[in-house]
């Protein structure tokens, strides 16, 4: 049965990917991409990588679809017809792919007990000792936030970088007229003044439904955030879900209302705060006499220290991710408004 599921999902994945390539309407392609992501998430579940599946579902199927749609609202949804379809790139990809498949024949069998990864000291330590020295049942979180906490710090920084990148580029203007600069330098976006067609005030059903849904979404986000120690979840997923709640809100009620609630400046503050919180934990552990990100020294009891440290850094991740997603969304949506259109 399990094999049947695997093969079925894989075939769907291949079909979905080909469909994405084939379809000329970008709106359809985006939706298909979302489906493909969801299939990927399912595949991750069958591989027992529930945390990864969760992230894939939240990021791949969820928020990136929203961002794609935001982009499509800016650029239109029809692809420029390709000049000609060339066979050579396909053959190239196939032949190189073939060479790689040839390489995989030597690879250890997935799930076998004697693969180098299974036999590795690392695996042994993570599986056997981490519940004792870290004290939380979800090993993924232990590895992510403690053993390899620095990688996660780096990834948080990546998210932060992406956010400021989007803010920088999307607010960029070509030098054309001096008055543009004045507007820009006064810190007011032309977009922010435009209160034209924003939101969808007359669609009753979405309003009601979302008003009911959003509190639960936010609550769920907090659950995912703080339950990461015990089950799948953590700052990344929670941040995305939290941001999704806000984005839904602004889709229904209009960007300007969301911006009143959470101005861009505040989002930027949160963006920075998350990274600083994460790094701050590291610095605190240095001040307390340990190495960078050594949570053991944070509390008298090493295990309690680990708990505290993981909680704080996950919180930092969550804050940064939420703020980053919102910042990116603001960036896209603000640009659409500037053109007199709204995302929805």
């Amino acid at each position: 049965m399990e094999e049947f599921t695997d093969i079925f999902l894989m075939l769907l994945l291949v079909a979905g990917s080909l469909a994405v390539l084939y379809v000329r309407n970008l709106f359809v392609a985006t939706m298909l991409l979302s489906a493909v992501s969801f299939l990927m998430a399912l595949l991750f579940v069958t591989l027992d990588a529930v945390d990864v599946a969760f992230t894939e579902a939240a990021v791949g199927a969820g928020i990136s679809t929203v961002l794609y749609l935001g982009t499509l609202a800016l650029v239109g949804s029809s692809e420029r017809p390709a000049a000609k379809l060339s066979v050579i790139p396909l053959l190239l990809a196939l032949s190189v792919g073939g060479a790689l498949i040839y390489a995989t024949f030597d690879m250890p069998v997935i799930g076998a007990a004697d693969t180098p990864v299974q036999l590795s000291n690392l695996t042994k330590r993570f599986v056997e000792i981490s519940p004792i020295e870290i004290g939380i049942p979800n090993m993924v979180t232990s590895v992510l936030a403690s053993y390899r906490g620095f990688d996660t710090f780096g990834e948080t920084t990546v998210v932060f970088t992406a956010a400021i990148g989007v803010l920088l580029i999307l607010s960029q203007k070509h030098v054309r007229r001096p008055e543009e600069d004045e507007v820009e330098q006064s810190g007011l976006k032309p977009a922010a003044k435009d209160h034209g067609q924003v939101g969808s005030p007359h669609d009753l059903i979405p309003h009601v439904v979302s008003k009911v849904l959003i509190p639960f979404i936010l609550l769920f986000a907090f659950y995912v955030q703080f339950h990461g120690d015990f089950g799948p979840g953590g700052g990344f997923q929670a941040g995305v879900i939290m941001a999704a709640g806000f984005i839904l809100y602004s889709l229904i009620f209009g960007l300007h209302i969301t911006k009143k609630l959470l101005p861009l400046r505040v989002v930027e503050l949160f963006l920075a705060f998350g990274v600083l919180l994460y790094g701050g934990v590291g610095v605190a552990s240095m001040i307390k006499g340990g190495n960078f990100l050594d949570y053991n020294v944070l509390s008298a009891d090493p295990v309690a220290g680990q708990h505290l440290g993981i909680l704080l850094v996950e919180l930092g991740v969550g804050i940064t991710v939420t703020a980053a997603m919102l910042a990116i969304f603001y960036g896209f949506a603000g640009r659409a408004q500037g053109r007199g259109k709204d995302v929805n």
Partner: protein, 563 residues
Amino acid sequence: MIEGLNPGIILILGALIVPLTSGFIRGILLLALPVLGLAQLIMLGLGSWGQFEIMGMQLTVTHIDPLSRVFGLIFHVAAFAGILYSLHVKDTMQHVATLIYAGSAIGAVFAGDLITLFTFWEITAVSSVFLIWASRTERSFKSGIRYLIIQVTSGVVLLGGIALYAADTGSIKFETMEFGSLATWFFLIAFGIKAAFPLLHNWVQDSYPEATVTGSVILSAFTTKLAIYALARSFPGTDLLIWIGVVMVIFPVVHATLENDLRRTMAYSLNSQQGFMIIAIGIGGDLAINGVAAHATISILYTCLMFMVTGAALYRTGTAKITELGGLYKSMPVTSTFAILGALIIIAAPLTGAFATKALIMSAALDAKMVILWLAMLFGAVAVIDNVGLKIPLFGFFSKDNGKRFQEAPLHMLLAMAVMAGFGIFIGLSPATFFALLPTPMESHTYTASHVVTQLQLIAFAVLIFALALRTGYYPKMRDSITLDFDWIYRKAGKMALTKTSSIVANFWDQTKGFGLMLVGWAIDKAEKSHGEGQAMSRTVSSGYAVSVILILFGIALVVIYA
């Protein structure tokens, strides 16, 4: 004076002050620098200074021995006279370039190691090109570019040789080397370019006549003689040089005979005279090397002098073409007198310097029992009587009057000529004084009756034939034209497809060399077509294309790595 400072550096550093001065002060400064350098050279005496280590290599910035001292002395004299000659020039760039060029040539002569040599070698190349560009004409600019490319190539080849040599021997001392290894071939080519070896020589005739009036005087003194010094230092007694030298003596004289432009005639003659020195280096031995040093000295004197008189003619009349000059002796009697003096020196008339020095080389050849070689050199000696000794004064200054009148050359030019002529004749009058400076002490028997008589016979009979040829009209007519030389190959052949040539030899030239140059032209063309702006190698390709390339190379890498 700073202990051990290379005299050349005085000139180079002094050059940097020149732009700050003007007028009279500048004149004093310009003339004082070579004098200071000379004083430094004399005070230092013989020995080595300025040794320090860099990257594990022992550098010797200043190394003075008898051989380098001779070249250093005459370089200072030439620098002084050249600057005196160019005092009227208002162009700061030329003065600076002159001083840096002369200084680096002097510096190179006193370089004790190859790295120092290379450094000065390249500075001479780069600084001297400004003397050509100073003409500020399209022709001189192009010519300068060709000059620069060739000169810098010489430096790069030298550097390659140094690297190989250091790898082979672990030494970078600039000293006598065993010819034969790849490194020494590199050296030979690098020196050979500057010494104007056959087929590597065209830059001389190409660029010297394009330089300014004063520029060509300066240029004629240093680059080629520096190369002679380098060869004399590193490869004395290398047989190959003898044959190169023979070709050098004979090859340019036909061109010198045919040439209409006085300065270009001089350039060819200079080339032929280089051959004498190359032969002497090839013969090796104390007498021959003395001959090289002595003849190089005289050669600088008379070559500069002749460039000075032709330059003066050019300066006053605006042309140096035989066909356009006439009766100059009437307008410029003093300059004409110097032209005759220079001609007497160059044809090695008794009582002049060359009479004493050329004999050293000739007798070195005879001592080595190389009769054919001796005959070849004798032929060269006759040819120079025609090319320079008779042609330049007669055609340039004593030709038929065309009615135009000009001013006599300025006083400082005449003084500069007097310096050169004075030294040239002084050495001839008192050879022993000069020979005492040569690398190896020797006795001289310059003025034997047979030497005087035979030399006079040589001159007189050559004059006779010359006069007969003129009377009968057999002498080639000067026309307003240029004469093709080997540089035709690289300046023209690539462009001309299938020229109709009148002889088999020329056809052969065209076929083989032309093909080679077509290859070069084709390569440049291809380079532009493939690498030029917006062409295949520099085009901004689409990302898809780039990814395809990545995939192909990844595939290749995988295959290689799997293998």
